[in-house]
């Protein structure tokens, strides 16, 4: 037992921290951002921000951090999962612009794990350079929680596959370059056994994207229609009809990489500073016992989630499969995201309802935004109910 960073980990942590303090644009963390662990991100509000973010990311790429996470020659990770976790924690704490986390947190490690040598050599460098970003082509109108019911079909045609079907809830599809898509390659096989993964270029003829506006009024989702989309067999990743098996691993990665654990701490600190600085009815909010109690509960749950976060990294480094543990993390972190928003709303009283486009909005309207955004947390990437099923069935061995 050694519940602190090793010397090497601490140095890595400090290096990132110093880099972020130095390189992030002035006041970056105070720009309106999204609530921790939401699935509602929709790019930057202002063009200027987007440019700043790109300039910053150039520096991250230059630093070699993105590329360094995998050692392409040796076909393995170059940094430990703990180091990646430390990187994610610091980046999310500073609300730094990140490489698309679907790309670096799911697609890259999946390629590393199940891609061919050629596929790794083709995709990993352009992922590392930021040239290739991805969206997840999982959900369909009749395949939400039940991804075994995916119907989008891929039919062999010479050296190609022809794809037809529809994907939905496609977060950020319009902001990225490629899809990491699961489709049905065997129509005859039993439901879970005929699926495969493809990398699909958004620009391929036959692809049409319709925006879907979320409850915040933002365009984050898309309906994506595939009409005779022709894809080279080289883009089939991880073996034909091995898709559902690979999906299980990809979902583990997803549950870990989307946590953004540092964001919880940052958001909490902002709320804490606000209740210290603000009085209602002539009394500092921070002196109200009910508020002290609520804040302490949230702080404690954040700490619990930190521990559960480090645990999954440790397991990965030991070569273990954190299937259940990542589900526990996903469940607790997303429930916390919701509860933190609700509790912050309770603390702010009538002021909580003011949205970010007003000067009167506490903490730049983040709390009212979070109240809505956090709804997506316990639904996206597997509902809390599905997480509990996994914990009970795979973790505790109860019958399906």
């Amino acid at each position: 037992m050694d519940i602190k960073f090793s010397k090497e980990e601490q140095e890595f942590h400090d290096e990132i921290d110093e880099f972020l303090q130095r390189e992030l644009p002035e006041g970056w963390a105070d720009k309106p951002v999204t609530w921790p662990h939401d699935y509602a991100s929709s790019g930057y509000q202002e063009q200027g921000d987007s440019d700043l973010a790109e300039a910053f990311l150039e520096k991250v790429i230059e630093k070699g951090w993105v590329k360094a996470f995998w050692d392409i020659g040796a076909e393995r990770q170059a940094y430990s999962n703990m180091q990646q976790a430390i990187f994610d924690e610091r980046m999310s704490y500073y609300r730094a612009p990140t490489m698309n986390s679907v790309t670096t947190g799911i697609v890259a490690p999946m390629l590393l794990r199940v891609g061919t040598k050629e596929q790794k050599e083709k995709w990993l460098p352009i992922i590392a350079s930021g040239e290739a970003t991805f969206w997840l082509g999982y959900s369909e109108p009749n395949a939400g929680s039940d991804l075994g019911s995916v119907r989008t079909s891929a039919v062999e045609d010479g050296d190609d596959y022809i794809l037809n079907g529809q994907k939905c809830w496609s977060s950020g599809a319009h902001l990225t370059d490629y899809s990491w898509m699961i489709v049905r390659t065997d129509q005859e096989a039993r439901k879970h056994q005929g699926l495969s993964f493809f990398i699909v270029d958004n620009k391929t003829p036959g692809i049409k994207m319709d925006p879907v506006i979320n409850i915040l009024g933002d365009h984050s989702f898309n309906n994506v229609f595939l009409d005779d989309v022709r894809i080279s067999k080289d883009n089939l990743i991880g073996g034909k009809n091995r898709g559902f098996y690979n999906l299980m691993t990809a979902l583990d990665y997803e549950r870990i990489c989307l946590v953004g654990i540092g964001g919880f701490k940052r958001m909490f600190e902002e709320i804490r500073d606000y209740v210290k600085a603000t009085s209602h009815d002539g009394r500092p909010l921070s002196e109200k016992p009910s508020i002290r109690n609520k804040m302490a509960r949230i702080a404690t749950r954040i700490e619990v989630n930190y521990m559960l976060f480090w645990r999954t990294a440790e397991m990965l480094d030991r070569g273990e499969d954190p299937n259940v543990e990542s589900s526990i993390l996903k469940l607790t972190a997303t429930e916390l995201a919701r509860d933190m928003a609700e509790i912050a709303m309770e603390i702010l009283g009538p002021y909580g309802q003011i949205t970010g486009n007003s000067e009167r909005a506490p903490i730049r309207g983040l709390v009212s935004r979070g109240f809505l955004e956090s709804i997506s947390a316990t639904i996206g990437a597997g509902t809390s109910e599905v997480m509990r099923n996994i914990i009970a069935q795979r973790g505790l061995g109860l019958p399906r």
Partner: protein, 372 residues
């Protein structure tokens, strides 16, 4: 004992639901989001023609002389329909204040115009840095000639940009509280809308040396305090009813959805976790319904209702968010899309849950009422 609507209330309820389901599509809420300065005046006119604004106004002042229970029937239907209109501020708050007042000339002047739908009222009761308490009011009403000069800043003023009048509070120079009505087009009024979750077009209203006649004052001193207490009581109970309408709609939508949607080869409404979410919503709705009816009925009967209202509002306010969120959870991803109406209910239910006092505010009142 009889916990249910009487025949007349049933008829009113059915007709209100039918009318609103036809005349008040959810697009009206989305229009408010996109432009919060105006609301649908045509619908307002039709509601006025149905006599809704005057339901709880005395016949002497142009109303139909019903009581608060009758008004509550309408508010429940409005909650269920997510009606975006200044009905609450006009027909509940302003009507209550005016009927409570002894300023006869103003009553005779304004109440009939409320009843016939020709006047829109808003209310401006909360000041920056304050919440629900009526202590610490900083707005000042200085005696000036036959009237007053009023200055101050108020927040959370709904439909301010559409209102003809504001009901507001101020302190006199001798520190006595006053409740007054102020014309929205008075010189010196500045209105800044700010965005809120419920698209109600809430505004910050700054008043600088607004000149008002003496007849604008509806109550002074102890009477003003009593009036504000009555407004709080009636408004809190009214908001409970609105919440009830909202969460009933959320439950209905959820049951319909889960009974139709399939996943894993099964109707999702057959999954026990989904069923239990729905059962929990149903329990909350029933609980809110009856604890609210008791509060409403006591107000309507003129009986002491502080405890019952405090219990109802503390319960309904927390049920509002619990049911709203469960509605989203049972729907899954589709509930995160603007196209589904679920979020409109959550927005409305949340706004109602904090209006005129949130859960904690009323729990402390309950504590006092039960002898702590």
């Amino acid at each position: 004992m009889n916990l249910d609507f009487n025949e007349q209330q049933k008829i009113l309820s059915d007709s209100a639901q039918e009318f609103l389901s036809k005349e008040c599509p959810k697009e009206l809420m989305r229009q408010r989001r996109d432009s919060s300065t105006e609301f649908n005046r045509e619908l307002w006119k039709k509601m006025a023609d149905l006599g809704w604004m005057g339901v709880a106004i005395d016949e002497d002042y142009g109303g139909s002389g019903g009581n608060f229970s009758d008004l509550a029937v309408l508010l429940e239907a409005m909650g269920e329909a997510c009606l975006p209109a200044p009905f609450f501020s006009t027909a509940v708050i302003a009507a209550t204040a005016l009927q409570f007042s002894n300023t006869e000339s103003t009553k005779t002047d304004l109440l009939p115009k409320i009843a016939d739908g020709s006047l829109i009222f808003s209310y401006a009761l909360i000041e920056p840095g304050n919440s629900y308490s009526i202590d610490n009011i900083k707005a000042l009403a200085k005696k000036e000639g036959q009237g007053f000069s009023v200055s101050g800043t108020k927040l959370f003023v709904e439909y301010a940009q559409a209102a003809d009048y504001f009901l507001t509070t101020a302190k006199l120079e001798n520190n006595e509280l006053v409740v007054l009505v102020i014309k929205a087009d008075s010189a010196g009024i500045k209105i800044d809308p700010f965005g809120t979750l419920d698209f109600a077009g809430q505004c910050e209203v700054r008043m600088q040396n607004i000149k008002v006649p003496e007849s604008s004052v509806l109550a002074i001193g102890d009477e003003a305090v009593a009036m504000l207490q009555q407004i709080e009581l009636v408004s809190a109970a009214g908001k409970c009813v609105e919440i009830l309408g909202c969460i009933q709609a959320v439950l209905d939508m959820s049951v319909t959805y889960v009974a139709g949607r399939e996943q894993f080869g099964q109707i999702i409404g057959s999954f026990q976790s989904v069923q239990h979410h729905c059962a929990n919503m149903a329990v909350e709705v029933d609980s809110t319904r009856y604890i609210t009816r008791q509060a409403v009925w006591r107000i309507a009967q003129g009986l002491p209702a502080n405890k019952e209202v405090a219990m109802a509002k503390s319960y309904a306010s927390s049920a509002a968010v619990r049911v709203g969120k469960l509605g989203h959870q049972t729907h899954g991803a589709i509930s995160f899309c603007d196209e589904l109406d679920m979020h409109l209910y959550l927005r409305r239910a949340h706004a109602a849950s904090i209006a005129f006092g949130d859960t904690e505010y009323y729990l402390e009142k309950v504590a006092v009422e039960i002898g702590l």
